[in-house]
Symmetry: C2
Subunit: 477 residues, 2 copies
């Protein structure tokens, strides 16, 4: 038997690292057995897979700091992970990364209703913050579709949106301050509890940096007052053009719905054929769901006005939910859209792009034409109010030819959206998935600037490597 | 006569630089005569003065780029200037800077109502954008008190606010994209017309960077739909505690006024003694002015509710403006507050700080006590809704002892605000004036991070030197 001394040295070194990590977080909180690691092989974008070297389950900022200090000493890259619900491969462990799992850091540390903020650990599940404060009349506004599972830390990394971001803004608008462990292991505070920033806006810079600047362990987030009431309308159209025009007309009338969503016929039919069926009309070309929130008296008038605008733009029918049960039933359909697609085919590519609202009809027509060219089934769900598209491609991951057609179609859809003045992601982030599309939007100089800013925080590129910003061939600096 | 060859060499070199600049912008557009330069010696914060070496009046991005390329070659620092209305000395020409005057770049390049944006040159005066679009039913939301004079570029540099930022957010929330001339002279685009960001949020980072990252020459800004109507209430209180509680109660009730301002008795008396007198009650301890905007039917109810809240909190009287004339009269009082102080003494130090809303009564009491200690006349104007204070000290700049007491009082006020969890500036920026206070808020590590980010854009420190971030004694990198 030939002993490979190089391998042996590496194994001994790795075992020594694992032991050091176990001393920080306890033996039970370091996973390194390949069978245990399998669940961390991918996030919700299952087309990308990569096994981490190990997983460290942390319970405090101090543990995160000590863990990262050791990884930094030994030049081992790391990736933070919350619930693994991301759709851009942002929590994928590339380059032999170790995963730092944040899910145990899920405490609400402080709630201050007077000044309207809460301090939370970033492993906290998004919905649990609202559940904690809603009986006092407050909520946390960002509401990604995965909000019952995703963590606030993951939302911060990707600057997550959600249906209600049209009115309330995406995650970045709700983060006042962050406790951050830098890639050196140092702990620092960014921002303050006030709403005004001072100095460079490092909180704004950190939110959406996709783990490449370090790990936020605590967040001071804004609490919002629950509206007195919410009205929900479900409107169906016989053409997507009319639906798109109705969306633009509502906004143009100076009305700001708290949500303004659109689904196409393929999506609606999939929902109605599934266990999530909620009585949506399966023969309409498009359905628009509108939430209006505010004071009871205000909404009576506003609801009527939105109804008239929709009818003027050619709506076939307008259904106004009479109570909370009807409201939730309409939303149950929308929220189960991605789940319902599971019936159609084993795999679903949830795409994400942004276009100017006025370009909705033309982009939609071209997306359908791309689907036809590549013989793919594409369904469309939109946060229509802010022009955020989710063209979803149903496919079978075992069919290599189909997978290849999915990839080509995705690229064409991205080029289409960029071509009309849009962008390659609205709320899912760039992650590993869209890193190659970055050059569609940014010049080499832009990317150089971003890389040099990343170097300020993450000079050794140990924090979430191979994410977000493509390496340039010649980095002259 | 002894000829000083060193001076002569410098003079020849300077004349050669001036000639190069004249070739770019034309001979009439380079000022270097000391008498012409005097007007550029300070901005609206007249306690700081420094004569620029020269002033270059630019008319295009190309001219800015060519000018900066030459300055970069010759290692000459520069400072951009719009209207010079800033209150932190941000446009002060330090370290022998040349001023690049943006006022001629004042065109509106594109207006798109469908997708709700405008592209403007940054020398455009703030109010002129609203004037251009208001007949079509739109407005540009950020409204600093100086909006009839200040430029959008200056607003971008300082992330300017204004009374209506409570509802609409400060400048950073209204900038979608920027054309920027970097300190190397290169031109780059940051951001896009979509509302979602991708990659690091460089637009958010640039806004509020106080000229230290280069000069924005064009901005794509958000247009807002004009509300159907605006209601204005003027409420007076016999104690500032009651007024503060009313402010907090309005917000706590889930009402979001478009403006929520407070003035103390000293301010009101100054206004009423001036040519700006607008019938405000001079015997009240504090006056609160509230704007509510939205649909006509909504506001009838909301106005009544706000009135009741104020009365419940001890308001002596509530006056609701019956028409636009009455509205403007109430606001004329508020908007002339700084001007009215001019009657009291030759000079006015307009301070700027932020505190948590709940700390208003305690901070206010301590500010008055500081005034008493140093025998100074302090009046207070607040954007109360977002906890943004403007304690204003009236003084005589010729009285050296008084100037010294003003400085000491300012520092104590800053320390007071920071001590209750607030910050040293809400909307005026750090500039030259508050650079020494930065260490009250930030650790040396925070400042190092900021300096390293500045170095990405501005490695030679030629763009607006000695502003915003203090140099550290030992910079080890």
């Amino acid at each position: 038997m030939v002993v490979n001394f190089l391998s042996l040295t590496l194994i001994v070194k790795f075992m020594s690292l694992i032991n050091k990590l176990k001393k920080i977080v306890g033996a039970n909180n370091v996973l390194s057995d390949p069978t245990e690691l399998l669940v961390y092989e991918c996030d919700a974008l299952t087309t990308h897979r990569s096994l981490p070297k190990a997983v460290v389950l942390v319970s405090s900022t101090d543990q995160v700091s000590k863990t990262i200090k050791i990884l930094n000493q030994e030049n081992v890259p790391f990736t933070a992970r919350g619930a693994g619900t991301g759709l851009s491969g942002g929590a994928l462990a590339l380059e032999g990364s170790i995963i730092i799992e944040m899910a145990k850091m899920n405490r609400v540390l402080e709630v201050n209703y007077m000044d309207r903020y809460a301090i939370v650990e970033t492993g906290l599940i998004n919905i649990n913050l609202t559940r904690r404060v809603e009986t006092s009349g407050y909520f946390y506004a960002p509401d990604p579709s995965s909000q019952t599972a995703c963590t606030i830390g993951g939302n911060i990394a990707e600057n997550a949106g959600g249906p209600h971001c049209l009115k309330y803004g995406s995650t970045v608008n709700h983060i006042l301050a962050l406790k951050v462990v830098l890639p050196s292991g140092e702990v620092t505070m960014l921002g303050s509890q006030g709403i005004d920033t001072i100095g460079y806006d490092l909180v704004g810079l950190f939110v959406g940096s996709e783990g490449t600047f370090g790990i936020a362990t605590e967040a001071t987030v804004r609490l919002q007052r629950l509206p007195e009431t919410v009205k929900t309308l479900m409107v169906d159209f016989l053409s997507t053009e009319e639906a798109s025009r109705a969306v633009s007309s509502i906004i143009a009338a100076g009305i700001l719905p708290s949500a303004l969503e659109m689904m196409d016929i393929v999506t609606v039919q999939a929902i109605e054929a599934s266990v999530f069926a909620s009585g949506l009309p399966v023969d309409a070309a498009a359905i628009v769901i509108i939430d209006l929130d505010g004071l009871i008296v205000d909404l009576e008038v506003e609801t009527e006005r939105v109804k008239q605008i929709c009818l003027n733009q050619g709506a076939r029918s307008v259904q106004i939910a009479r109570d909370q049960t009807e409201r939730l039933k309409i939303w149950a359909g929308r929220k189960s859209a991605f789940g319902a697609m599971g019936r159609i085919s084993p795999d679903l590519m949830v795409q994400d792009a942004v276009i100017p609202r006025s370009k909705l009809p033309i982009v939609l027509a071209k997306v359908y034409s791309i689907a036809k060219t590549y013989n793919l089934r594409i369904s469309n769900v939109f946060h229509a109010g802010d022009g955020n598209l989710h063209p979803n491609i149903s496919y079978d991951g075992r069919d290599k030819d189909e997978v290849s057609r999915v990839k080509t179609a995705c690229r064409e859809i991205m080029e289409l959206c960029v071509g009309v003045g849009g962008s390659i992601t609205g709320e899912h982030g760039v992650g590993a998935d869209k890193i190659d599309y970055m050059s569609l939007i940014f010049s080499e100089n832009d990317l150089k600037t971003m890389l040099s800013i990343r170097d300020c925080f993450n000079p050794k590129q140990l924090a979430n490597p191979k994410k977000m910003i493509p390496s340039l061939r010649c980095r002259a600096y």
